[in-house]
Point group: C2
């Protein structure tokens, strides 16, 4: 049994990951306004405060992080920084601070999405931060110590978000939640590191 | 003959691109402290001021941008923001502001590097911003109007930087400058858009 912290553990994807992992593991959820502990991952000090509360973990999972969706013509510099601070540096902060609270052999599992590889309209920022995390994971896995691993799950449009997002993803096949959850299980219970676990369908 | 603006046109790569393109085209160079015009691409207003001076162009090339190299353990949040503000958002600013100064059918050519795909030690930040630009280019090419194209040249360790960087890139084959220059020519004089022009050797 592992002690697993899920940042964003009450979100669309996080809640399914949480429910599955809870069957075998001790799961702690974190969120900005919900969960067992609160955290604003944009702030390294908040991440540290969260981990002081939870203590050391065997796995830290992130299913949180936002980025602004808008036409490129309408995107300001400030709009780009929403995603940079949240989905990009928020996840970097989790690894940077979290590595000191990770048990040997533990793992980080970050989240991105298909936009990194196959963007759609209005996703210059979302694609950018997702691609940034893919390369970050490949780079940081070379430097983590104590057999600590890191992977990232990059899923296509998930089943549970289809109602809200399908118009933005013409022709994308929804990814069953069970497959998304398995991406996280592969990272957490598997042995790989530096992997971009792509869960795409027709591309 | 095209009117081509090269930001970073006096750097290691930029100067070779400039020399080659000058044989056929009108080339203007820009840099923070050198070149025909000055620009701090981290600041959108500075980019706009530069383009007000040059007027409309047929191609905007960026061979500038920095990111901090350091062990991940030593990297602070502020250190990550050096690369985010310069190599990442600096290039986004060039496209965001520059699209209003681009003649129809013109092109942007950005620069990244092999670290996006094959990072080495101490490059969590450099890898990250390079990967971010790759996904940004794929996303923004869907939205540019007036047949404006965008590509990015991602080169391995270039011949002219070998003396300085070879110890960081064990076993990497230096990329001849002529091949690097051809990457830019392919983007500027070719017809493709949304391409990541990878100039790698043994990977």
């Amino acid at each position: 049994m592992m002690k697993i912290l899920i940042v964003g553990g009450n979100g669309t994807i996080g809640s399914k990951v949480r429910d599955h992992l809870s069957k075998k593991h001790e799961v702690i959820t974190a969120g900005r306004n919900s969960g067992d502990v609160n955290v604003d991952m944009r702030d390294g000090r908040s991440v540290k405060a969260m981990l002081e509360k939870t203590g050391k973990v065997d796995a830290l999972v992130c299913t949180a992080g936002e980025a602004k969706w808008a036409d490129f013509d309408a995107m300001t510099e400030e709009d780009f920084y929403i995603g940079i601070k949240s989905k990009l540096m928020g996840q970097v902060n989790l690894v940077s601070v979290g590595k000191e609270y990770m048990n040997p052999g533990g793992s980080f599992t970050l989240s991105t999405g298909i936009l990194a590889d196959h963007p759609v309209l209005m996703t210059t920022s979302a694609a950018m931060v997702n691609g940034a995390i893919h390369s970050f994971v490949k780079a940081v896995c070379l430097e983590l110590k104590n057999q600590i691993r890191i992977n990232v799950v990059s899923s296509g449009l998930v089943e549970d978000a289809v109602d809200h997002y399908q118009d933005y993803f013409p022709g994308h096949n929804p990814i069953p939640m069970k497959k998304v959850v398995n991406g996280f299980v592969k990272s957490i219970e598997g042995a790989g590191s530096g992997e971009i676990i792509r869960i795409y369908d027709n591309c």
